[in-house]
């Protein structure tokens, strides 16, 4: 006969007050949200709008934008889809750095100054925070972002060892938000450079043991607007909301082109 054990409830990961407001009390603070607006139907030039908002400690920049759009000014325009850092729709320039609005907590920013939000740079602005992503996806399509395998399809899956999978694991994380490409000073100049995102996605297939078209992609990126225009400023690595080591991936593609040529 065993005696039944009384299971203890695990300790709460959130520090809840025993009395008073309890779990409902989340710290409140005031912020100033400053957004660069553009609407070709209203004005030829862009202008700045500022809003004073009371936000909570759990809120993100996206929540502040929602507060404005839903409660204050419905004409504010921005993209967002999943709002949880997966779809990559809401990349924007927050206090001069490319970030996802849905992954940037207001409490982590300097709330004593206005929080400055602009559209990402280097792509044509259509309205407010929405840019035309077509040039970005044009580069993406050029590197053929799909698996090409010449051998007949096996009955089961194409087997790959954990080490072979690990080789390109980092670059599989890309969500195509364009935060890296639109933070790259070489891309800003004339938009001719393929940009970090296209190279990252080429890397994902070049180093995939199941893919047979690595040489074709290396040839594409050996273009004068390809990897050799990278100046290793690390803006892309700093901007990536998925923490991909973008500059390292570009460097690996450079090395692959070099070793292939030698």
């Amino acid at each position: 006969m065993s005696t039944p054990t009384v299971e203890k409830e695990p300790a709460s990961k959130v520090d809840l007050a025993e009395s008073g407001d309890g779990a409902g009390a989340v710290q409140e603070f005031d912020i100033t949200l400053k957004v660069r607006r553009y609407d070709p139907e209203r004005a030829e030039d862009a202008w700045w709008d500022e809003w004073e908002l009371t936000m909570f400690g759990t809120d993100r920049v996206l929540d502040a934008l929602h507060r404005v759009k839903w409660d204050v000014d419905g004409t504010l325009t921005f993209r967002r889809s999943c709002a949880h850092g997966i779809c990559g729709s809401d990349a924007m320039r927050i206090n001069g750095r490319n970030r996802l609005a849905c992954k940037t907590l207001l409490k982590d920013l300097d709330t004593s100054k206005p929080i400055v939000v602009e559209a990402i740079k280097g792509l044509p602005v259509e309205k407010d925070l929405i840019v035309d992503m077509e040039p970005f996806f044009q580069s993406y399509r050029e590197i053929m972002p799909f698996m090409i395998n010449n051998s007949p399809a096996p009955t089961a899956e194409r087997v790959q060892s954990p080490e072979e999978r690990q080789r390109f694991d980092d670059t599989t994380k890309c969500i195509l938000c364009a935060a890296c490409t639109s933070s790259c000073p070489v891309f800003w100049t004339d938009g001719q450079y393929f940009g970090p995102a296209a190279i990252v996605n080429a890397h994902r297939f070049i180093f995939d043991s199941r893919d047979d078209a690595g040489d074709m992609r290396l040839e594409i990126l050996n273009d004068k607007e390809g990897v050799w225009r990278c100046r290793t400023t690390f803006n892309c690595t700093e901007a990536c909301p998925r923490g991909i080591e973008v500059t390292k991936a570009i460097q690996e593609v450079k090395t692959a082109i070099l070793t292939r040529s030698l």
Partner: protein, 169 residues
């Protein structure tokens, strides 16, 4: 009996992709390059950079640290060095690598910062002209340097440095 109608098989044929033609022409990569010039230039920058570190520091050490140091540098010192083929070769390598390294660096800066094709063309033309003149002039000086010029009669020219009197007489 089946008839082949490519347009029926592929209904998307002939229909433009959404937004096609809307891309700003500046984003269209109109002339894909062939060859590996950019790759060679990239490798050259790294190799010449490493070589220049050695070349320049040995140059500085032999000129400024060895012997009488900074006080030894005068016309005669340079003339003495260029009488030696090793230093001729050393200075020639340094001149060519430094000029090509610097020119390529300027070329990439112009490519990155010039926004108009015409500006780019002008700046690069000036750059290549200046580099060519300096490389040719420098090479000529290293190989044809003659510190003690004499006239037709074999006498030293008036402006020849004083140490030439010991050599000629």
């Amino acid at each position: 009996m089946t008839t082949t109608n490519s347009e029926a098989v592929l209904p998307a044929q002939g229909i433009e992709a959404p937004r096609s033609g809307r891309i700003d022409p500046k984003y269209l990569r109109s002339n894909p390059s062939s060859g590996s010039f950019e790759m060679v230039a990239w490798v050259f920058m790294r190799v010449s950079g490493a070589a220049l570190v050695v070349l320049i520091f040995v140059h500085l050490f032999s000129n400024l640290m060895v012997g009488e140091g900074i006080h030894q540098i005068d016309f005669a010192f340079v003339a003495g060095k260029w009488a030696n083929p090793v230093w001729q070769f050393w200075d020639l390598t340094m001149l060519w690598l430094a000029m090509l390294h610097g020119t390529n660096g300027m070329r990439t800066i112009i490519n990155d910062y010039a926004e108009k094709d015409s500006t780019r063309l002008w700046l690069k033309s000036i750059l290549y002209l200046a580099s060519t003149v300096i490389i040719i002039l420098g090479t000529l000086v290293i190989f044809t340097f003659e510190p003690c010029l004499v006239d037709d009669a074999g006498n030293l020219m008036d402006y020849a440095p004083s140490f030439c009197e010991n050599i000629v007489n």
